[in-house]
């Protein structure tokens, strides 16, 4: 009984957030002179209106889910990893390079590219963890700053040494990856690819891992009270490197899947402009770092974005209405944390 009530309550919160978010969006639409109902109808159509649009939304959600999972893992361990963007970019770059230059059969290239993405994203992230564990450098800030360094570095690589000079366009990008190495599409003529399945499986696995395994338990306790964890024999430094590596690994995987499933090359800015990393962090915050919740929130945010594009195609309302809704959703997240605080205080007295 007690459990059911708290379960319903945990659903009620995000629902309320969505309603308020939509209301704020409605205000924004009205401000720019659009019709609210019509605009939202277009938005819905753009996100879920047809099977094509639906799969499109899921394919956009894929990197967001993976990044969200990585951030959720780090948050649960008590580490504010804000470096998903750089980790994703490096993962994507390594995946592209591996797929392009590694000799061998296509399947091997594909697997190696995914692994390379995970490893480079993971190492970049673990580096920040190491700086914190060893030199006590504030993780939140180092991860943020490392983003800029990573994207600039990747930009350099595809602007100079590995630039695609075959085409006529002067884009900063690598060559195109051979078709045999691409992640297979799930449906003919649709953008949704095998990466979505990987992301879905990852979400379930992470959920099970956090809940039922020894390491998952240790990570949660570390996030809950690091002193308690170290008192009980959990080694913080080691766990920090491990969980930061895994966290960055997810982001790296997101980048490589995006390269192997959608872009087929590393194109400067193709991953940063859509703000996948930030959407992933938002999804995590929305879901309170719950892995399955993060996946759902990621799909919701992706739907807002694809819906926004549909809306922009068919109405006068600008795409950016979506970012307002997102921002309000996030504000509600903070309120959610507050809500639980008030609850706690009541229970105490």
């Amino acid at each position: 009984m007690d459990k059911r009530v708290s379960f319903i309550r945990s659903l009620l919160q995000p629902l309320l957030a969505v309603i308020v978010g939509l209301a704020a969006g409605a205000v924004a639409i009205a401000v720019v002179g659009g019709s609210v109902l019509e605009t939202y109808a277009e938005m819905w159509k753009g996100a879920f209106g047809s099977f094509y649009f639906f799969t499109n939304t899921l394919s956009r959600a894929t990197p967001i889910i993976l990044i969200g999972l990585g951030v959720a893992l780090a948050f649960r361990a008590g580490f504010f990893n804000m470096g998903s963007e750089g980790q994703m970019v490096l993962g994507a770059l390594s995946a592209a390079i591996t797929a392009l230059y590694l000799p061998g059969p296509a399947w091997l290239k594909l697997v190696a590219a995914l692994v390379a993405g995970i490893i480079s994203g993971g190492i970049w992230s673990a580096f920040a963890g190491w700086l914190d564990a060893k030199y006590r450098m504030n993780l939140l800030i180092t991860t943020l700053l490392l983003n800029y360094i990573a994207t600039l570095f990747a930009g350099y690589i595809v602007s100079y040494p590995l630039k695609d000079r075959t085409g006529s366009a002067a884009m900063a990008q690598t060559m195109m990856i051979d078709k045999s190495v691409w992640l297979p599409k799930l449906f003919k003529g649709m953008s949704l690819h095998g990466g979505f399945l990987i992301a879905a499986v990852c979400a379930i696995l992470l959920f099970l891992f956090m809940r039922y395994t020894l390491k998952g338990y240790e990570i949660r306790m570390l996030g809950g009270n690091p002193l308690f964890a170290s008192y009980g024999g959990v080694q913080r430094g080691k766990m920090m490197l491990l969980s930061m590596f895994a966290s960055g690994g997810f982001a790296g995987l997101a980048g490589s899947i995006e390269v192997l499933g959608t872009q087929y090359r590393y194109l400067d800015g193709a991953l940063t402009t859509p703000g996948y990393a930030w959407s992933g962090i938002m999804a995590t915050l929305l879901a309170g770092s719950h892995p399955l919740g993060t996946a759902v929130a990621a799909i919701l945010l992706a739907a807002l974005q694809t819906g926004g594009m549909g809306m922009e195609r068919n109405t006068e309302v600008p795409l950016e209405v979506s970012s307002i809704i997102q921002a309000v959703l996030i504000l509600f997240v903070s309120a959610k944390i507050t809500y639980s605080f008030i609850k706690r205080r009541k229970a105490r007295s």
Binding site: F80, R136, N138, I141, P318, A327, T338
Partner: protein
């Protein structure tokens, strides 16, 4: 090398340091009352955007700056309300506000100016350049120090005023007390909440000024996310300067110089990617010298036995 370290490099350092310095001073005030303000980035962004908006609608630079202050102030009220009144996790609130600022400015850019990415209008008037009498006639030094926007000079004044305020006045003393031991301050009847709000609001004002310098002083345009991490660099400057106005000024100067150097180096035969990395690399390197409180202390504070 002569070419590199010339007058204009130092002059542009002074210009570029101002937004970082102002934001970092705001961050220092917040830190002094025990709030780690990750939302500096968002506050500055709001300031930068609203300065352009104010300029667009009034055509008057002064009212543009005032409008920027007002908007950042409103935003900081939100930060204060969530973190002080509702006691939500300060870091999460800060991150959320950064998202909100980005979303709001992106949307408003579209809604007000009907452009994507950046807004520029050649008729827009930037902040005036002040030539300081006497000073401008000194060779070299005059070229470096004179001819900047009023905000550059204001920021220097604010550093001094803030230093005096914190360490010489009664109110400043109480602010320090509230940050050092809030429970003790409360038990003495010091209005800790009010002081915290005061610091947060002041931070809003400073970030508004920082934003105005960014969009009306250094350039005369607004680009989406134009703060590009300066808020976070300012946060590092706050930490490095140990939240002492003079210390913060010194560390901001370092980061401003790196900013200027990075722009300057673009004229040389180096790939811009690496020159642009410079401020971030140096900031991380600088953090090596500042030991964070460490998780032990943080955790101890978070799990105090007196609940």
């Amino acid at each position: 090398m002569d070419q590199l370290f010339d007058v204009s490099l130092f002059a542009s350092t002074l210009r570029l340091v101002t937004p970082i310095l102002l934001a970092a001073l705001g961050g220092a005030l917040c830190a002094r009352v025990g709030l780690f303000n990750v939302g500096l980035e968002g506050l500055v962004l709001i300031g930068a955007f609203s300065a352009i908006v104010g300029n667009h609608f009034t055509g008057n630079v002064l009212s543009a700056v005032l409008f920027a202050i007002l908007c950042s102030l409103l935003f900081s009220v939100l930060f204060g309300y969530m973190s002080i009144h509702l006691r939500a996790n300060v870091i999460v609130v800060g991150i959320a506000l950064n998202f909100l600022a980005l979303g709001l400015t992106t949307f408003s850019l579209r809604a007000i100016f009907d452009v994507k990415g950046a807004y520029y209008n050649k008729d827009m008037v930037g902040l005036p350049k002040w030539d300081i009498p006497l000073l401008k006639d000194i060779p070299w030094l005059g070229d470096v120090l004179s001819g900047h926007s009023p905000l550059v000079y204001l920021s220097i004044l604010i550093v001094i005023l803030l230093q005096l305020f914190l360490f010489k006045t009664v109110t400043g003393f109480r602010l320090l007390a509230a940050g050092e031991n809030a429970t003790a301050a409360k038990s003495l009847g010091i209005k800790v909440t009010r002081i915290q709000y005061g610091a947060v609001l002041m931070c809003g004002v400073l970030c508004g000024l920082a934003g105005a310098q960014l969009s009306l002083g250094n350039v005369t345009m607004f680009t989406e996310g134009m703060t590009s991490g300066r808020g976070f660099i300012a946060l590092v400057a706050t930490m490095l300067g140990q939240s002492n106005p003079l210390g913060v000024a010194a560390s901001s100067l370092l980061f401003g110089f790196m900013d200027a150097l990075s722009i300057r180096l673009q004229g040389f035969a180096l790939p811009t990617h690496f020159t642009m990395m410079l401020p971030y690399v140096v900031t991380i390197a600088a953090m090596l010298f500042f030991k964070d409180k460490g998780y032990m202390q943080e955790a101890r504070k978070a799990n105090e036995s007196s609940r």
